[in-house]
């Protein structure tokens, strides 16, 4: 929980990792390139006092994580997202079992999300059932750009992906986090394209699709899908750190998202250990749309911030929030999202 100026904020950190990107765990230059790429994100967008040396970033300890998230970082609950990348890392980057074992040592702190990959076919469906039985999954994280042998990725609209989404419905795994990465082949397609999320969200209205890093670098396509599909949500990992280095850009992004999706469908996530929740939360609570942009984007109220920082994710994950930390008044104005179809500029 974070308290400032008489307002208290219940924090659900919607996107965290307990990874091992160290050289000892790397299989090849792709594994090395991947963690270096993360490190540049970390180094470029973090305040100087939060920058780590590479060795620490590659592999931090469980104690570091508990300290950074819960002791100083204000998180009440953190969602651990699983990312396997077993073609690049010997033991995987962070698997459900690794995350789950750590979570069990800290009861009440973590929600463990599983994962699946449609290329695993029938065996993967059975594995998903086992994962669910063992870890009681409320969500999964899907990484459509993950390499697997000759395959450099997949789409949510693939027939086998639908089999897995059906299985999720059957098992009650309702929160589907989707991470769009840059490395999908064939290379003549747009790897960041979020159109497959649109298809899946239409086909599975009972599931929620949380698009990580709000579709960046395809913010406009994500916003467009958000207006069409009421069960599409935006994870703010990657977007929020701009609050430090480029606050005016952050104001535009959050302004666009609030306009198209509204305040009930945006989820805070630190993407730890790329960024730390402490400074993100402090800066977000202090943040306001610059005056000269308020005519276009309005202002961020404490209630909007409370929803984004925790209440929206708590709703999706059935997390009990103490009554005094809830927001009671309804949203002042609905998003454009559920209104009749506007005409897109580039649709």
């Amino acid at each position: 929980m974070y308290t400032k100026d008489g307002q208290s904020y219940f924090i659900v950190d919607g996107h965290t990792h307990f990874w091992d990107g160290s050289p000892a765990n790397q299989i090849n230059r792709y594994g090395e390139g991947f963690i270096k790429c993360f490190y540049d994100y970390h180094a470029n967008l973090s305040p100087a006092e939060y920058k780590w040396p590479m060795e620490h970033f590659e592999r931090y300890s469980e104690e570091d994580m508990i300290h950074d998230l819960f002791e100083i970082g204000y998180d009440d609950i953190a969602i651990l997202q699983s990312t396997y990348l077993t073609d690049w890392y010997v033991n995987g980057f962070n698997t459900t079992a690794q995350n789950g074992e750590m979570a069990e040592r800290h009861p009440g702190r973590f929600i463990v999300n599983g994962r699946w990959d449609p290329r695993d076919g029938e065996n993967g469906l059975a594995e998903l059932e086992r994962l669910n039985e063992r870890w009681h999954l409320a969500g999964v994280k899907l990484y459509t750009a993950e390499w697997r042998g000759d395959s450099k990725g997949w789409k949510l609209s693939d027939p086998w992906a639908y089999r897995y989404l059906e299985k999720c419905e059957e098992l009650g795994i309702r929160n589907i986090h989707v991470h769009k990465g840059p490395t999908v082949y064939p290379m003549n397609r747009d790897a960041f394209d979020v159109a497959d999320v649109d298809d899946a969200a239409t086909a599975f209205p009972g599931l929620r699709f949380i698009v990580e890093h709000v579709g960046l670098p395809r913010l406009e396509d994500f916003c467009w899908i958000g207006t069409q599909e009421p069960n599409v949500y935006g994870g703010l990992a990657v977007a929020m750190p701009f609050i430090h280095s480029r606050p005016r850009y952050f104001a535009q992004v959050i302004g666009e998202l609030l306009y198209w999706l509204g305040e009930d469908r945006l989820l805070f996530g630190s993407d730890y250990a790329i960024w730390q929740p402490k400074w993100l939360i402090e800066k977000f609570v202090d943040f306001q749309i610059p005056e000269d942009m308020q005519g276009e984007y309005g202002v961020l109220t404490p209630d909007i911030k409370k929803k984004i920082l925790g209440l929206n994710a708590a709703r999706l994950y059935d997390v009990k929030v103490p009554g005094e930390l809830q927001v009671h008044e309804p949203a002042e104005s609905g998003p454009i999202g559920s209104s009749p179809e506007p005409t897109a500029a580039t649709a």
């Binding site: 470029n44 290379m187 670098p217």
Partner: protein, 225 residues
Amino acid sequence: MTSRDAAWSALGQVRDPELDRPITDLGFVATLTVEGSAVRAELRLPTYFCAPNFAWLMVADARDALAALGARAEVVLLDHFASEEINAGVAALDDFATSFGGRDDPDLAALRATFERKAHVAAQERLARALVGAGLDPDRLRTVTLGDAARLAPDEAAAVARRRARLGLATGYALCDDAGRQLDGERLPVWLRFARTVRVSIDGNAAFCRGLLETRYDLALPPPR
């Protein structure tokens, strides 16, 4: 004999298809060496995993731009997971089809066209904003011609005209939809609203890529033009 200035300005015609800016402004040209009629450029990108399709287009476009000077042109991409395949493909004058799957491939052409259209939408949004800032009645945005717009906001209008030329769009209106049709009646406000999101996205990506490139190579790039 090719001058370095001529080679540099030829590379300045090559744009990142997604960011809609010249690769010379983005800091993507790491080195440029000219010896007689031989020109060699090394390109670098903000991350190891930058989209390989766009990387391939930029390397191939840079090679074409230098070759158009009559130079023996060599362009190589540094520090990218697909460097080897891209460099080999471009050096062998392959098209994307041979290397990965097709430069004349309709999907790749469609990809490029998608980003040309987005760039056009964003440029029009900047123009509309400049026109209203210069005192034009917002209601006139539906009917104002590009010629009249150029008198009020010459830079922004020229930017729109350049993108239209690339798209092969012929229209007299300052603002139009993807098919070149006038944005009449009720269409304009919603169109402008979405166009703003497109512009925010492109500008934001450009700034992020710039920051990542500076971090990756420990650079301080000059401010964007």
